[in-house]
Point group: C2
Chain length 116, copies 2
DNA sequence: CATATATCTTCGAATCTTCGAAGATATTTA
DNA sequence: TAAATATCTTCGAAGATTCGAAGATATATG
């Protein structure tokens, strides 16, 4: 199979892995600090079991790494630059503009980009 | 709902829209030139009906724009920088390295990035 | 006007994703 | 050792996605 198809398939896998709002938020949280499952669940206001499932998927695709300390599983980004690249993608949210103002986007960009 | 959640939802929509190898390839083809449905189908070696379906989705998310000339529907990127951002994402394919060599990625990066 | 071409839309089956609930495992504390 | 805590995995239902096939539309050509 031509290289372009192989590489396109890999890229699509990455996009699929990021194609859930909770997982985007998990990655942006981890951009500023390592956290355990409950730490993430608290900050994102999501049930821990759901955060755990998302982390399982991110782990399967090597986007996060795990470190265990006692009964806590701490997670961090395998490639911290990933968080920045995602923030760069906000440029394409702006263009679409369905119910999201430029001001809102700018605010979030600063929150997420600032923590890096 | 907090801004971060709204923006994360929009970003996830973008990722979902890009989460198919055919659509990644369509976008990279359109980075270098406007094409009609059959033109794309030929270059990507895909059935025209399938390319049309993918274009429908990209259109629904305003990633491509249509121009009609007779019975031909020509498509171009709404935001040409999108193609470059996707190529930047190749950095994260490299990190994962499941059956894809750095050489293959570099080759594709040049093909896609060069056409811009 | 009849036909061929280019594209779009709809349909239904197969597959994948998501979500919460329930159960399993490992670690700490009493 | 028993109970509590933190996390993971599995299960099954609901919903979304993908794909090719078939039918609809619009435009060009004979």
């Amino acid at each position: 199979m031509p290289n372009r198809q192989i590489v396109a398939r890999e890229l699509a896998e990455i996009f699929k892995t990021l194609a859930h709002p909770d997982r985007v938020r998990v990655i942006e949280e981890l951009a500023s600090s390592e956290l355990d499952v409950n730490g993430l669940a608290d900050r994102l206001d999501l049930p821990g079991t759901r955060v755990s499932q998302h982390l399982g998927k991110l782990r399967a695709h090597r986007m996060v790494e795990e470190r265990r300390d006692g009964r806590h599983h701490f997670y961090r980004l395998t490639q911290p630059e990933l968080a920045r690249w995602i923030v760069d993608g906000l440029a394409f949210v702006e263009g679409r503009m369905q119910g999201v103002s430029e001001g809102q986007i700018a605010t979030v960009r600063e929150m997420w980009a600032g923590s890096n």
